[in-house]
């Protein structure tokens, strides 16, 4: 019994210790960012209060933050899933774009279907488009041996221009730089329809889908035979092959699933937020942000949710910071600093160094006594 209590106490102590690191990291980065803001002649307290006010200040802001968090969770999961198979899915951006444009098509072309069916179909078409896009990359890696990263980058460009081409041709609204709008039956339900608190936000049920997908991703990766095989291939493809695991198949499969997550993110952006796709002047950034989200989230589905939230708060806090007179660039730098500090886990490193130096000093002193 006593040992159990001790065990519990030790566990609690360890958890507290572990909390301390990211906590200190965030605090230090906030202070560092604050000094920076101050050096630009602006009020750091105002900067941070506007960041929080702009992202969490009221229900509407909170809703808008979740609108941003939703695709970030999914693209972060996409990166995470592929990463578990040791694949760097930098093509997430292209898969996101394909998901979005495919959803526009499905949401527009199948108008007339009953809502629940139409919406489901639209989301699935988006996910499938992303999945197919990604599995091409996976197939090239597994069968031809050309590298995932290079193919991913190229497929991103192909996706962007394909989307722009479709917006300009088949899905065009004449004279406009954006696509047709999807039918109402393909739109995700918005919280503003029932809750007056969210009246001015676009918060939609996509966030729930994203959270469920995170759990599904966690389950697949950690609790199923497929996940076991994917992770084995990721850690050690030779050992996986030795264990009767088909390496190529798992590479393609994990890219397929990763692509489906990214495609779903795009489809949710279409059905929940934009209802259409604009001509893209560059990458949307959701895919690339997904990489940072996944890394800060420790390549773990649950970590991704939390880190996506951190990113959402910073992104949605940005506009109000700008309105309060903090230049856009400084806002970007502050966001960068925070991510850097959290991701680098540097507090742990520094604490380790200090400890070591102390020990050295101690031994040096002892020597002196001798």
């Amino acid at each position: 019994m006593e040992s159990r209590i001790n065990e519990f106490r030790e566990g609690l102590l360890n958890t507290l210790k572990e909390i301390a690191y990211p906590l200190v990291a965030i605090l230090i980065s906030v202070i560092a960012g604050g000094i920076l803001v101050y050096s630009f002649g602006k009020d750091p307290v105002l900067a941070y209060t506007s960041m929080i006010k702009g992202s969490l200040g009221d229900w509407n802001k909170f809703g808008e933050t979740l609108v941003t968090v939703t695709p970030l969770i999914l693209t972060g999961l996409s990166i995470t899933f592929a990463f578990k198979c040791n694949l760097f899915n930098i093509g997430v951006e292209g898969q996101f774009i394909m998901g979005a444009i495919a959803a526009v098509w499905a949401g527009w072309a199948f108008a007339g279907l009953p809502a629940i069916l139409h919406l489901t179909l639209t989301l699935l078409v988006g996910a499938a488009a992303g999945g197919i896009w990604a599995s091409i990359i996976g197939w090239l890696q597994a069968k031809v041996g050309s590298h995932v990263v290079i193919n991913g980058i190229m497929m991103n460009y192909i996706a962007m221009y394909t989307s722009n081409f479709l917006v300009r041709t088949a899905l065009n609204v004449s004279g406009k730089a954006y696509s047709v709008e999807i039918a109402d039956t393909a739109k995700l339900w918005r919280f503003s329809q029932a809750f007056v608190q969210f009246k001015h936000s676009r918060l939609h049920t996509g966030i729930i889908i994203a959270l469920i997908v995170a759990l599904v991703a966690y389950y697949i990766l950690n609790k199923t035979v497929r996940g076991y095989e994917i992770r084995a291939v990721g850690f050690n493809p030779d050992a996986a092959e030795y264990g009767g695991i088909n390496v190529s198949k798992n590479i393609i499969l994990s890219m397929l699933v990763a692509g489906m997550f990214a495609g779903l993110a795009g489809a949710i952006m279409t059905t929940g937020v934009q209802y259409r796709v604009n001509t893209l002047f560059g990458f949307t950034g959701y895919g690339l942000d997904g990489i940072s989200v996944a890394l800060v989230g420790n390549i773990h589905p649950i970590g991704v949710i939390l880190s996506a939230f951190l990113f959402g708060v910073m992104q949605k806090g940005g506009p109000l910071m700008q309105i309060q007179g903090i230049p856009k660039e400084v806002v970007g730098i502050i966001q960068g600093i925070i991510i850097l500090f959290v991701a680098a886990n540097f507090v742990k490193v520094i604490m380790g160094n200090i400890k070591q130096r102390k020990e050295l000093k101690k031994t040096a002193l002892q020597e002196g006594v001798e």
């Binding site: 209060t49 009221d58 941003t68 939390l306």
Partner: protein, 351 residues
């Protein structure tokens, strides 16, 4: 791993609480439009500008719009607010953010049309302005420009300045707004130099100087010696190509002669976005704000024109251009807007 995630979350929550603690007075989820106590202390009039993802520093469209706003701000003794968007999807939220902070929010750029529609409906008590496209909500004033008229003038200049009788046009993305530039320009060239050939190419982007340079060089290789661009940031590449290959470039939106190192900008089609933003604010300050109204600024309103800070346009050519302007202002010349109009366009002799 799960534990690590949890740990991160707890840490986040703790930090958040510290902040929200600081932000307590403002945090009450009051009606969004209700002004903050801090904002109440501000002068009665407040206004701000929202850019698209292009942002300030383009030495062109957005910078010009901001100039107009700053000018109005100086006159009215108000410090204007700026909000630069980072993502297309954020336009709506950004318009909302701005609407909560100021009385008059001006969105600069046609890309924000949809978002402005939604945003202006959400905040019916706040006034809005939008540049370069038309939104008909009763609390929005829209300003557009007759770019074809300005382009017509630089077309005239190009038609007279060319020695090879080959002239280039580099567009950004191929859609009607940019086609207006193309069409007006060609009409101007044909009016003074019916034999000149105009090469038309589009970069497919607004933010890719390399692409602009590439196209400009290929037009140069086809003997073009004057190239007009309406391609945003790609134009920097066009002007670079002019610097390196010694041909004339024509700038767009603002006077771009400073972009060239070797003074190879012949002239620039200027779109007085500053006039646009200034007009809206002025109307609001003078209680003449007309919601739902769309103003189109052309040569007549001094909303478009050409500028020649590089002093590269000869006096004779300038005289012809001024004459052309007169003819457009008095209605003798109706500059075509679409490619169909252009086909039907009969050049009028400019004397």
């Amino acid at each position: 791993m799960f534990k690590k995630g949890l740990v991160l979350f707890l840490a986040l929550v703790m930090v958040m609480t510290i902040f929200t603690g600081c932000a307590q007075p403002a945090q009450a989820p009051a009606a969004p439009a209700e002004p903050d106590p801090a904002e109440e202390a501000k002068p009665e009039l407040s206004f701000g500008m929202i850019t698209d993802v292009g942002g300030l520093g383009d030495k062109s469209f957005n910078d010009s719009a901001w100039e107009g706003i700053q000018k109005a701000g100086k006159e009215l003794g108000v410090e204007p607010v700026i909000l630069q968007s980072t993502k297309q999807e954020d336009y709506e939220a950004n318009i909302g953010n701005m609407a909560q902070s100021v009385d008059l929010s001006i969105a600069v750029g046609f890309l924000m049309e949809q978002a402005m529609k939604v945003g202006s409906e959400q905040y019916p008590d706040v006034k809005f302005g939008i540049i370069d496209t038309v939104v008909t909500t009763p609390n929005v004033m829209s300003v557009t420009f007759k770019e074809h008229e300005g382009s017509f003038l630089v077309g005239v200049i190009a038609g007279l300045a060319t020695k090879t009788n080959v002239i280039g046009f580099v567009g950004g993305m191929d859609f009607p707004l940019i086609q207006k530039f193309e069409v007006g320009f060609i009409a101007g060239v044909k009016s003074v130099n019916p034999n000149a050939k105009v090469l038309v190419n589009y970069t497919g982007a607004f933010d890719n100087p390399d692409k602009g340079k590439e196209i400009a060089i290929s037009q140069f290789k086809q003997k073009a010696d004057v190239i007009y661009h309406a391609s945003g940031g790609c134009g920097i590449g066009v002007i670079q190509a002019a610097d390196e290959n010694d041909f004339w470039a024509i700038g767009v939106d603002q006077d771009q002669s400073a972009v060239s190192n070797n003074n190879k900008v012949l002239c620039s089609m200027i779109k007085r976005v500053d006039v646009g933003t200034y007009t809206i604010i002025k109307a609001y300050a003078d209680d003449k704000f007309e919601g739902g109204k769309a103003i189109e600024l052309g040569l007549k309103e001094e909303g478009v024109g050409f500028s020649d800070n590089g002093k590269n346009v000869s006096a004779e050519i300038k005289a012809v251009a001024d004459k052309a302007k007169e003819l457009v202002v008095n209605g003798t010349i109706v500059v075509p807007v679409t490619r169909e109009d252009l086909e039907a366009f009969k050049p009028v002799e400019i004397k």
